[in-house]
Structures are given as structure tokens and as C-alpha cells.
Symmetry: C2
Subunit: 644 residues, 2 copies
């Protein structure tokens, strides 16, 4: 029971790994030329310079609608002394683009003529070649239209056809074969229901989309089991195919079932195993039979980093293209990010403009969590020699979205509620869409964000037993200087989430000492409410098994009950209902949005307020179950709790 494990080789920087790949790949032999129709060549790269076959225009032509003339016939015209020209004798009606009649060398714009008694009057002379497009003015036959390795853009297609170039020599499209691996993966094509120990294979599709976005052909094969022989066959099949590049998804790490390295060693040479970047470390590059083979880590965020740091620069070079420019902007951090010396770290970060600064909220580091990427507007790169950054420090972030989008983002940091999802969805349906970027840090985390000017609004449901009021006592204590407006989002039902049918016969708090509990994190409003209820009931937290196990959202608590990892947790009704669980109500609580008053006139905040006031949105909130909306959209005042 001590399976053999591959222990990592020395990690190298991504730049070094890319350099090694470029130095051994014979680009000119690997990527062939092909000839394709010019009209289909947009986005392709010319393999040779292209010279025009035809001139454009091929004749002197009218550049304006009007009358073609010989300029010397007009020299006598001047203001106040109109000159008569005679149609079909010394002036000829022409439309833009038509050839000049024999003997003409200029065009008079129609606007500068007067028609009278069958002739044409002009009051100023014209110069030779006025309003005439001359032969070859645009393109002269034989001239170089585009040099080799030029990336063709839409307007280039127009120039090619105008120059009589019907076909162009281009580099063939880079073809990639993607092979998912793993005993535990389920093929998404089977529309599976994952069981314990199984995961839906999705990295191959993310990678295929990334490759296609870069202009590659990407073919995804059926998943291969963790079996050296099957992997070897899959490798050989790819090497013998037309693919230029083979990608194995997962199996490149140091686990006992990670066979990618040993399989690649049979057919070629390992170029790099392990890069000094987190996530992304277990990346593997090999040269097999003249082709590049890449082992991409199994975690989705690692796979993405492997693509961006290794695959993208290599395929860009193979395609004779220029790398995309990175757009970096300074952001102020809403929390600190410690980092390990010796490895570059990439931190997915939610970014938005709040007031006159960009604020960045580092999202979780879990390499397995693809939603950290989908929720991020950029990454913060921490160099190997840096120990990290402090809260409120301004650092550079590399954007993954257009910078203009940051101005359309509404940053919401605080407690999480499903109603915020509804709000996010509705905001994107407005004529001027607003993107709600939310950081789930609990109600007290939201207070910190408000204090630091790091958000436009904060979701809060902090109950103060002393004053029997929500939110205001905490705002008064921790944010005495900040002028905020408190708007109710909804009234929520809080209670115990339990398994369907209540098999353990849980009746209330008193039963928590005999079941496995799952808790919310410290600072969360739900946790405050629970602790208060426990104190009232005289129950010691140490007597509750699992009290120290924390989840960060209601839904994560509910998921624990659903899967049997815990028997009971405190949360909102909506979470219980969403996962078909039972629910024992304990209390109503006010969930408010706290908005710095200076942002109240911001059109994005106004859009939120308009939505909250709309009966349709209130109905949508209530339809989730476990919410009441009598106060929704109303401004709250201290000391007026508003609920029983």
C-alpha cells in the first residue's frame, strides 16, 4: 500500500519552459503552408508576401457625382461671370466611380453647377485631376500588398480582392488534440449525475474554447482511464494524426495514478515538469516525435494558468502571431494577501471602480474553484520574491475584462443572500446593464469594506440583542463618521436546516447537542443570531459537535446536510428549500443594503433602488420562499426594527 509516486523535478519559470519548447520545436517543418480563398482568410497569417495583380482603380474615374470636363474648358469661369458648358459636347454627367469620358481630366461636383435652358453654368474654373481618382491611386499592380507573416484583418480582405488576389498562401491552422484522463471523470456528453468520488470532466471544453478563441482547431477525445497502456495508445494515435499539439488533461502531477510523465518519456523527451507558478505548478511539457505534448493540471484554475503562461505563448509563436497585450491597472486591495517566497502566485480578483479608485477583492485561492475565475475581473500576480500585500495597499492587476466594464460594475461586499443573485440577474437585464460583483465576507466584513471605501453597497443582517435592533448599532459603533443610507432588501426566515423527513427528530436548539452540526463562519450575521439564541437557551457551544466546522454561505451549509456530512445547520429557508431539505423556523431577520449616501445618486445605485421598489421584483423575491417583502426598498431608521 505504498504506491510509487513521481516526486517533482525542479520547477522552472514559465518563461524558461516556453523557451525550451521554442528551441526544440521546428516551426517551419511542423506548420505547413496552404492556399485558401482570400475571402475566407480573415484572421489567418500570410506565409508569403502578397503582391497586387491588378491596379485599383484600373482607369481614371469620377471621384464625385457631377460633370466630367477638360479642365482647360473651364478656365474662363469666375464668380459673377458664369460659364456655360454643353452636355454631351464639353461636359458629361458622371456618377462616382464611372470612367472619365475620352478627353476629360476633371470633374465638377453637381452641387457647384446650375442647370439652365439645357446647359450647365459654373462660376469657378477647375484644375486638372480635380475630383478624379487616377489609375493605381489605391493599388498599383505588382506592389507589395502585405508582407509575409501579416495577420489578415477584415479590411485586408478588401485590399486583396481589389488587387486581384483570389487566393492567398497562409500558415495552416494549428490543430490541437485534447485528451481528458482519469478514472474518476465523467464524460459531460453523457449528462451524468456525479456520485461520490466522481467529477464532471469540463477542463477539455474550457481548453478547447481557449484554443478556438486563438484561431486553432481543437478536437476533444473521449476520456481515457488512468491506465498507462491506454494513455500510451492515446498518445500514439495523436502523434500519428494531423494534430500539431497534444494536450493531456490531468495526470501530470505527482499522485500514484499520474502516469502522463512516464508515458511521454517512452515517446520523447521531457522539456519541463513543474513550473514555479501557483496555481499551475504540475504542468508538463514534452517533445514527442517532433510534436509538443503538454500535461495540463487537473484543477481548472491550474489548467487555465498552464494555458495562459505556457500554451498561449507557444501557440502564438507557432501561428506566427503577436501575443495579446496585457492591460494592467492599479487596484486598492480590500484585504491582505500573504504569499509564499519562491513561487509566483496568481490571485483571482474581483475588481470595480468605487468612487475614484479601483478596488480589488482577492477571491479564494482554491485551484479547484473555477468560479473564482468566472467571478474575477482580473488577476494579481505576486512575484516569487514578494511575501504578499497588505489590505488597502495599491497593486497592479492584470485585467481579464475590458477596462471600460469596470465602470459598469457595482461592488457589493458583505453578507451573502440568494436575493443578491436575483438582483444581479435583473441588473443585467436593464437597458444599461449593471454588473453586480459581490464579495462574500459576512456582515462584519462588509463593515470593514464600507470603512475602507471599498464597495458601493454592503449586504448586512447583524442583530444586536442589547438594543433589539438590526445593523444600526453596529454602524454607529464601527462607522460613526460614515454617512450611510440603509435600505431593506427583504425579511428572511432563519432557522435550522435538517434532512428531509427529519429522521433525527430535531425540534429546536436543545437537540443540537446530540447531532452533528455545521456552523457559519465567525462574524456572519447568522452566527451572531445562533450564538444569541444559544445563550438565551443556556446551551454551551462546546457541547455541540461540529460547532467549529465553518462554511461561508447558507448554501454550503445546506449542501452539508444534503450529503449527510452534517445533520443540522443554521441558515435561511431559501437554502433549505433549494436543496429539498426540511426547515425549522427560529426567527425573522432584516436583511438590509447599506449604501454610503454619497453613492445614492449614482445611476447604478438608482437602478438597484428602482428594482427594489418594483412589485415584480418583490414577487420574484417572495417566490424563492422564506422571504417577506413589506419593507423591501424602504429606507430604514435606527430603533425601528419593523419586524416582530
Amino acid at each position: 500500500m505504498f504506491p510509487k509516486r513521481t516526486i517533482y523535478l525542479q520547477t522552472v519559470s514559465p518563461e524558461e519552459a516556453v523557451r525550451r519548447a521554442k528551441s526544440v520545436l521546428e516551426r517551419e517543418r511542423l506548420i505547413k503552408e496552404e492556399t485558401i480563398a482570400s475571402q475566407n482568410a480573415c484572421g489567418r497569417v500570410l506565409s508569403r508576401g502578397v503582391h497586387a495583380l491588378h491596379s485599383s482603380p484600373t482607369f481614371h474615374s469620377a471621384a464625385m457625382d457631377g460633370y466630367a470636363v477638360n479642365a482647360r474648358d473651364t478656365f474662363a469661369a469666375r464668380e459673377g461671370h458664369p460659364l456655360s458648358l454643353f452636355p454631351e459636347q464639353n461636359c458629361f454627367a458622371v456618377n462616382t466611380g464611372q470612367p472619365l469620358p475620352e478627353g476629360c481630366d476633371a470633374v465638377i461636383m453637381i452641387e457647384q453647377t446650375v442647370q439652365k435652358d439645357g446647359h450647365i453654368l459654373i462660376e469657378s474654373p477647375v484644375f486638372p485631376w480635380q475630383h478624379v481618382r487616377r489609375i493605381g491611386e489605391d493599388i498599383v499592380a505588382t506592389e507589395l500588398l502585405f508582407p509575409r507573416n501579416h495577420l489578415l484583418r477584415p479590411w485586408d480582405i478588401g485590399a486583396l480582392l481589389s488587387g486581384g488576389i483570389w487566393d492567398v498562401p497562409v500558415w495552416e491552422r494549428l490543430s490541437v488534440r485534447i485528451i481528458p484522463t482519469g478514472d474518476e471523470v465523467l464524460d459531460f456528453l453523457d449528462r451524468p449525475h456525479p456520485d461520490k468520488g466522481q467529477v464532471i470532466e469540463s477542463n477539455s471544453q474550457m481548453l478547447a474554447a481557449l484554443f478556438r478563441e486563438k484561431g486553432c482547431l481543437a478536437e476533444r477525445m473521449a476520456p481515457v482511464q488512468d491506465d498507462p497502456e491506454a494513455l500510451h495508445q492515446a498518445l500514439l494515435s495523436s502523434l500519428h494524426s494531423d494534430s500539431h499539439l497534444t494536450v493531456f488533461c490531468a495526470g501530470s502531477s505527482a499522485g500514484s495514478k499520474d502516469f502522463t510523465r512516464s508515458v511521454l518519456e517512452k515517446e520523447g523527451e521531457i522539456l519541463a515538469h513543474g513550473i514555479a507558478v501557483m496555481p499551475g505548478k504540475p504542468s508538463l511539457l514534452a517533445l514527442c516525435q517532433g510534436k509538443l505534448v503538454v500535461g495540463v493540471p487537473g484543477y481548472p484554475v491550474s489548467a487555465l494558468v498552464c494555458f495562459k503562461e505556457l500554451l498561449d505563448p507557444i501557440i502564438t509563436w507557432l501561428m506566427h502571431k503577436e501575443p495579446d497585450a496585457k492591460n494592467c491597472v492599479p487596484v486598492e486591495l480590500t484585504r491582505s494577501i500573504p504569499s509564499r517566497i519562491g513561487m509566483e502566485e496568481h490571485i483571482q480578483t474581483a475588481i470595480g471602480r468605487v468612487g475614484n479608485k479601483l478596488v480589488g477583492t482577492p477571491l479564494g485561492r482554491g485551484a479547484g474553484n473555477i468560479t473564482t475565475v468566472t467571478r474575477a475581473q482580473g488577476i494579481i500576480r505576486i512575484s516569487p520574491s514578494c511575501e504578499g500585500f497588505n489590505e488597502q495597499e495599491t497593486v497592479m492587476a492584470e485585467l481579464s475584462v475590458p477596462e471600460t466594464l469596470l465602470d459598469k460594475v457595482l461592488v457589493c461586499i458583505g453578507s451573502h443572500d440568494n436575493t443578491l443573485d436575483l438582483l444581479a440577474d435583473e441588473l443585467m437585464g436593464l437597458p444599461e446593464p449593471v454588473q453586480l460583483v459581490s464579495g462574500h465576507v459576512g456582515s462584519t466584513g462588509g463593515i470593514t469594506a464600507l470603512a475602507n471605501g471599498a464597495c458601493h453597497l454592503s449586504g448586512m443582517h447583524l442583530f444586536d440583542p442589547v438594543t433589539d435592533d438590526f445593523n444600526f448599532p453596529f454602524l454607529k459603533k464601527f462607522l460613526p463618521e460614515l454617512d450611510v443610507t440603509v435600505i431593506n432588501l427583504a425579511i428572511r426566515h432563519q432557522g435550522l436546516i435538517i434532512a428531509p423527513g427529519n429522521p433525527l427528530h430535531i425540534q429546536g436548539l436543545q437537540d443540537l447537542t446530540r447531532v452533528r452540526f455545521i456552523n457559519r463562519q465567525k462574524g456572519a450575521g447568522t452566527r451572531v443570531l445562533l450564538d444569541w439564541k444559544l445563550t438565551q437557551a443556556g446551551i454551551k457551544t462546546s457541547s455541540i459537535q461540529g460547532y467549529e466546522k465553518e462554511e461561508n454561505t447558507h448554501m454550503a451549509v445546506a449542501a452539508n446536510i444534503m450529503t449527510g456530512a452534517a445533520d443540522c445547520g443554521m441558515g435561511i429557508y431559501a437554502a433549505a428549500r433549494a436543496l429539498h431539505l426540511d426547515f425549522i423556523p427560529l426567527a425573522l431577520e432584516r436583511y438590509d443594503l447599506v449604501i454610503p449616501t454619497c453613492f445614492l445618486q449614482d445611476p447604478r445605485i438608482q437602478a438597484v433602488l428602482d428594482l427594489l421598489a418594483s412589485p415584480a421584483f418583490q414577487r420574484r423575491i417572495e417566490s424563492q420562499g422564506g422571504y417577506d417583502t413589506p419593507l423591501t426598498g424602504q429606507i430604514m431608521q435606527p430603533g425601528i426594527k419593523g419586524i416582530s
Copy 2:
């Protein structure tokens, strides 16, 4: 013979035209929803918010390779006092991603263990949930993965599949029908040889490529004649098809054969005819049977402006997408640009970084010249209230290429020579490609550019009869302060370009007085040489018919001879040969590259010098005919002419 003409309506700003289109188009009725497989949805926009069906992970799993344990079994371990764990009893080998065995709640990294005598030693305790990915850590079932109108990116595909979403509701792809029109257009599919009065139809393909680049489906129909009935049928056919948008290429102007407007009026309402932008003015927008119909001007640059200013914002809105951000940079102008009050003007501009500034060379304004776009790195927008800009003024330019590319550009302003095309082609073939951006302003224009620090190098072939030397006398006179290095590009054969077979029996300069001549522009080296030869021969320029007709390049001169527009012109042998014309040699001339010495160590200039020194490139120069290369790549000195 006074055909009816449509005189323009009042022009409107592009913003106003777009506003009108948006206000009458019923987006939600026009663009339907459809359901497609998630893995094919990258680049598409969700029509509804999407909630996860599965959690990810669906089970507690190992986040590292190592041993799964129950944390409380490890609490006794400490440094110097290793604790033994027993495989398959209280510790279990796990690979990353595998489910935790029953009863385990933590993972010890393999690197922090020692195997000894069949058991596992650890020297520090682990905490509960250490190196464990918990249920729903990434995605919790029912949570909102993406709001409506979210543009799906590659990583989003991963999140959709991980969340068990196999199909997604998206807005259908925008479908565009493009109809080229005009009696004079030739269908490029026929691979035509354009005759006088004919043009190769290419705008439809540029537009199709532009639409496709934005994610639309674009269908291009066969060209339709300038016939109201045929145009009407084409319109009806498009309105009855699945297309959302119909584009007529050309026919939207005010010429006697521009029927687009009258045809559209039969089926709907004109929204705007004429926009206050040059080029692009004759754009036409109409609403016909609930669909948008656009008349795009016939000139390619006008068509492009019409797309960018009208079509792009409208289709972006129809697709529920965000407009692309514009990247604007300050550039110093190498020449003045006068502009008309009342119209916005777009000036195609060649841009590159010279020293520590970006310099911009306005390219020609001809709306018919697509090569002004293909050669430009951006545009300068001159507002309707601005009378233009002065030479050396710094103005904002809107880039059409990635900004990083500007650092790879080598700016060459001066005389034009075909050998520069060869150089441009070779430079793009280097491992670090260099883009040669050239402005054709003649040799003396090059001196001005050098004086203004507006270029990296300048092509020059100025002969000074007084000193019997090339280039140096002019550099000494006009650039006494500038330290330049002069490198020979090639020796060129200059002479008279004449029709094949020499039908007019031209023998030399003395015959110019009896034929139709075509000249080069003032300041061009060829013009200087001609004037000197004429003076030597005692021939008055006023005796030469066509002496006042100027072209800006050798090839344009040759094209005039080829088409019979002129009988004879002065130019280089290469131009005559390229168009199969005859040539009467008059002189050899030195064509040099003048490089400010401060740029000599620039890697891009070094690349040029390396190429010039290579025998292969010298052979390529000579293979054009009319060039000698004994001096190519050598540094020239004043007073040493080097040729006879």
C-alpha cells in the same frame, strides 16, 4: 440628359442615427432565444440567468496528494516527537481529487510524511479540513452561475459543465444579408479582369469579415444591377428570410443610379440619410417591416466608417454585448491636416514609436483607397468644430492595432522604392518580426521627417549636380545639426518608361516635346534628376505636354503608360518591367537609407543592416531587374559618389 438625382437630406451625427435605429427596433421581438449545448456556447450571450444544478465538488475530497486522516488522531505529533500512523487503519493514501474515506476530515501532504517500517511518521498535527476541498466549495447547487446577458468566456464553459448545465439559453446569432449592387461591379468569384469602367466588388467581403468578427452570421448574395425592380426583389427576399439585418453595398449616395433610398421607401421608413462624418457621409438607415436595412457607401473607406460608426454600435446592442473599448494614444503629427468645419473627419494614420514619442503620418484621404486603412495603425478623429491640426502638433489617435505593436514598427518616411517592399517582407520573416511602416513623401519630404525626429530612417536619392554627389549636399544644407549615417540600399537604373514596342519611337529626352508626358511630384529625386537632364539638354519644361501632371510613385507613372493615359514618364527600370513596359536608361542613381546615428544600435535598425549585408537579400534586390548592389549595406561618405 438631366437624370433625376437624389439630393442629400440633412446629415445627422452618427450617434443620432444610432439612437434613431435603437428607438424603433424591437430588440426582444427581433432577436429570439435558442437553446444550445454549453460546450458550444463560448462567445454567446445568455438570454436568461443560469443556476447550477449540481454542486462542485459533490463530496469532501483530498486537495493534495498524501494521507487522509481524522485530525484528532494527529494532535499528539510534534517536532522531534514523531507520531506513527498506520495505513488502512488511521491513515489512507489519497490522490488529489479523491473522496475522503469515511471518518477522515483532513489530509497530510505526502511531503510532510516519512515512511518507516510499514507506518507513516508525522512531526506536526493537522487541523480539521486541512487540504480538504469541501462539498460545494466551488459551486453550490441552485446558486446563480451567470446572470442574463452575460457573455460566455472559455472558463465559463468549465463552470457551466461543472454545475451540471448541459444546455444554455442564449440569444440567437445575429444574421446579416449583404447585397452588393452596381452595374459596374464584377463578382470576385468569377476571378475577373477588370476593364475600363469596371471594379472588382470587394466591400461585401470586408463587411462579411467585420460582421463575422463580431460573432454574426453573414451571407453575401450575388451582385444586383442598378435596377429599381431587381433591388426591390432583393430587398423583399431578404426581409422574408431569417436575416435580421440587410446591407446594400453602394447605391445609397446621390448619383442618378443610386436607387437604394427609393427602394427602401417603398417598404418602410428612412431613419437617416447622410451622416456628418467624412468619409462615410452617404450612409442610409431604414426600418423595413421591423428590420433594419442599411445602405453602405460604395467607397471602401466610407463603408468601413459606416460599419464602425453605425453598424457596430447597433449590432452590439442587438446582440446584448458591450461595445469594444477604444485605445487612444497621443501622437505627434509629421504633417498638418486641414479639416472642414461642420463634418467630423477620420484620417487614416501610420503610427510608430520613434525615440520616446509616437509619431503619426496622415495617409491620403481618398475614401476609395482601402490601402490607406491597411497601412494605418490608427485614425485621427477631427471634430466638426475643428479646422485641423498643424505639423508637429500632438493629437489623440484611436489605434486599430494593439499598442504593443507600435514598438515593433520601424518608421521609414521619404522616397519610395520597390526594394523597400522587399525589405518590409524580409523584416516580417525574422524571429522577432519588424513591421516597416513607410510614408511615401519623396526624398525632400524625408529630410523634413528626419529634422522633426519623425522617422527611424529615410529613403533618399537626391542628386546634386553642383557637387556631383548624392544626398550628402542636401543633408549638410538642411540637417547640419543632425548626426546621420548613410547606408546604400541599392543603385537604381533611372530612365524613360515607354509603351511596349516603343510605338512612338522615343529615343531620348529630345522626344518628350512631341509626346504626352507624366511627371513625378515636386521634390521627388526622380524629378530633380529629370529637371537636371532637361536643363543639360536645353529642353524647356513648358514645351512638354503633361509636365504638370504628377504622380507620387514610380509604379503610378508606369501605370499611366500601361493604360495609355500617357506616352512616357521618368522612372526606374523595376517599375517598367513590372508592368511589361519598355525602358530607355538615362542614368544610374544611388538610393540610400539615411539613419539618425542615435538609432543605429536599435535592434530593428540592426536587423535592417544585417539583411542588407546578406548576399541572399542582395540577390533578391537584383532579381527585380534594374538594380545593382555593389554598395548595398555599405556606409556612404560625402564626396565619394561610388558610381559612374
